[in-house]
């Protein structure tokens, strides 16, 4: 369904954020992308959703296709119309709009305008908390509710592939479990998911297949179940910091030393 081949992305002239990344999301699948801060996860999603130009980024090699159609370098609105919708890192709901208006904004990119009401009813059925708060301004929602709204808003356009960027960021463990349930539900309804996460336990629990990004490259790629308990996984990603202390090469130290950028 989604095919990313040998993708390289840079910001401006100096920053090479992705180097030859290849990745595939099969129809109906949930694929996780793991990696530490600055590994290039968000950049990968921006390349798919067409929002790199908003960050002075560009694709300098490789290709992104969705059901055979090229997505690379297309307009974000065309990509949404093709059936690929992104939920940005840090929720980014429209705080001054009501919950209902946020959902309406999410439906603007939909191809079929008549299906909007149906989409809204379906979304409210999936997220009853949002239905209760439909006329409230989004900034008054709790962090967990805002994350649910961000996902719900993304579902309004009726995507066939949903891109989720760190949906568990800053949420309490109980709410992270709810997010995981929502991902499973979305997948069960037939929408494929590309899930970017730092919470490896959650991501591996809900996904079929997982990739680990490090320094803009795919460091590891396995079925999620296999990766969940593997020593390799611990070495490449989970235990990277501890491991680095003893035997890291300079480049790897750089990888884990990247600071999280402020939102």
């Amino acid at each position: 369904m989604l095919e990313i081949r040998q993708l390289s992305v840079r910001y401006g002239r100096a920053v090479q954020a992705l180097r030859g990344v290849s990745l595939a999301v099969p129809a109906g699948g949930v694929v996780a992308v793991l990696g530490s801060n600055g590994a290039g996860k968000t950049t990968l999603l921006r390349a798919v959703s067409g929002t790199l130009p908003l960050h002075r980024g560009s694709i300098d090699a490789g290709d992104v296709t969705f059901d055979g159609a090229r997505l690379a370098r297309r307009d974000p609105a065309d990509i949404v119309a093709a059936g690929v919708v992104g939920v940005p890192e840090g929720r980014r709901v429209f705080g001054r709009l009501t919950v209902d208006e946020n959902l309406r904004a999410g439906a603007i990119g939909a191809r079929d305008r008549r299906s909007r009401t149906a989409a809204r009813e379906r979304v409210y059925a999936t997220f009853p908390r949002l239905a209760e708060r439909r006329d409230q301004r989004a900034r008054l929602l709790s962090g967990g509710e805002q994350q649910m709204l961000a996902i719900a808003r993304g579902l309004m356009a009726g995507p066939r592939l949903l891109l989720l960027d760190e949906p568990s960021l800053g949420l309490a463990p109980r709410v992270v479990t709810q997010v995981a349930d929502v991902v499973r539900q979305i997948s069960a309804q037939g929408t494929s998911v590309l899930l970017v996460e730092q919470n490896a336990a959650m991501a591996l629990a809900v996904s079929d297949h997982a990739y680990v990004l490090a320094l803009g490259r795919v460091a590891l790629e396995r079925p999620s179940a296999e990766l969940a308990g593997s020593a390799e996984m611990r070495r490449v990603y989970l235990g990277e910091a501890a491991w680095n202390e003893h035997e890291a090469t300079p480049t790897e130290r750089e990888a884990s030393g990247t600071e999280r950028r402020p939102a």
């Binding site: 609105a77 990509i79 939920v87 940005p88 980014r92 429209f94 904004a105 990119g109 309004m156």
Partner: protein
């Protein structure tokens, strides 16, 4: 007393014209973050087309032509300049609009020359007498038309797809484009709507008690700038409130300038700026805005 009532009506009328100018200015700023310095000449262009064509095609058709021309110029500025330079800084774009303003304003001033053009409106200097008060019909028409346009505009912003898209994009352009909202279309409609509002304002600024359209019309429009600042750069309701406040302040200060002579002459011209500075000292973002002028 009758003087006060008449002044208030005149003030509200001037204020509603300022509100139309301010609304156009704010909607462009919200949708594109561009400060449109060409707003005054868009306004004057609309008024000029009405003045230049009403003799041949009649007043209603001339108004339609004036609105359409101003809207087209808004569209052209958006398509030829804003959409191409969007990725550059907003400061660069603001400077480009200064360039447009200079070129368009100079050409219009050259065409009008030293004349004062009649707008061909049906209100002339007719007045309406009621309960001992006298109101110029053109002022009442301005209030009525502005009210209709403001309500229509509010409905557009609140209920249409474009309105939701514009408010979403104003808050977070990247998140909006992830939803498939076309930022280019949001911007285009904003420029067209602003052109229409400016042309209507231009018409009423050049009707009674103004003697007609003169070469200085585009600078008269700059008086709406304090209205924008008072209301807040990014607030549509602020634009309306700011317009009314400034219109009232200007008219009342001019009307009572005899009694207020101790404050100096030309009080009507100074009052809008005095109000603006007072509001800025109290609230740097304007009454309803979220952005400080210095950060724009």
């Amino acid at each position: 007393m009758s003087n006060l009532v008449e002044l208030v009506i005149n003030g509200l009328s001037l204020g509603s014209i300022y509100a139309l100018i301010a609304l156009g200015f704010v909607v462009i700023f919200k949708a594109t973050e561009v400060v449109n310095f060409a707003h005054g000449s868009m306004l004057m262009l609309g008024a000029y087309v009405i003045a230049a064509t009403h003799g041949r095609i009649g007043f209603p058709a001339a108004v339609a032509a004036g609105l359409a021309t101003a809207a087209t110029v808004g569209l052209l500025i958006d398509r030829l300049l804003v959409s191409r330079l969007r990725r550059r800084s907003h400061t660069a774009l603001a400077i480009v609009t200064i360039g447009v303003d200079i070129v368009l304003g100079a050409e219009l001033a050259r065409r009008v020359g030293t004349e004062v053009l009649n707008m061909g409106d049906p209100w002339l200097d007719h007045t309406w007498r009621v309960a001992g008060f006298t109101f110029p019909v053109s002022r009442l028409a301005a209030i009525a038309v502005a009210l209709v346009l403001i309500v229509a505009f509010a409905a557009l912003v609140r209920y249409t797809d474009w309105g939701v898209a514009m408010r979403a994009a104003a808050e977070d352009a990247e998140a909006a484009s992830l939803m498939g909202i076309r930022l280019g279309r949001v911007s285009m409609v904003a420029w067209v709507v602003a052109g229409v509002l400016a042309a209507v304002a231009g018409l009423f600024l050049a009707t009674f008690p103004s003697p007609g359209l003169s070469a200085t019309a585009s600078t008269t429009a700059l008086r709406a700038f304090p209205a924008v600042v008072v209301g807040g750069m990014d607030s549509l309701s602020g634009a309306v409130v700011g317009g009314l406040v400034i219109g009232l302040a200007e008219t009342l200060a001019a009307g009572y300038s005899e009694q207020l002579l101790f404050l100096g002459r030309g009080l009507g011209d100074v009052a809008p700026y005095a109000v603006m500075i007072a509001v800025l000292l109290w609230r740097p973002t304007g009454l309803f805005g979220t952005r400080e002028l210095s950060r724009v």
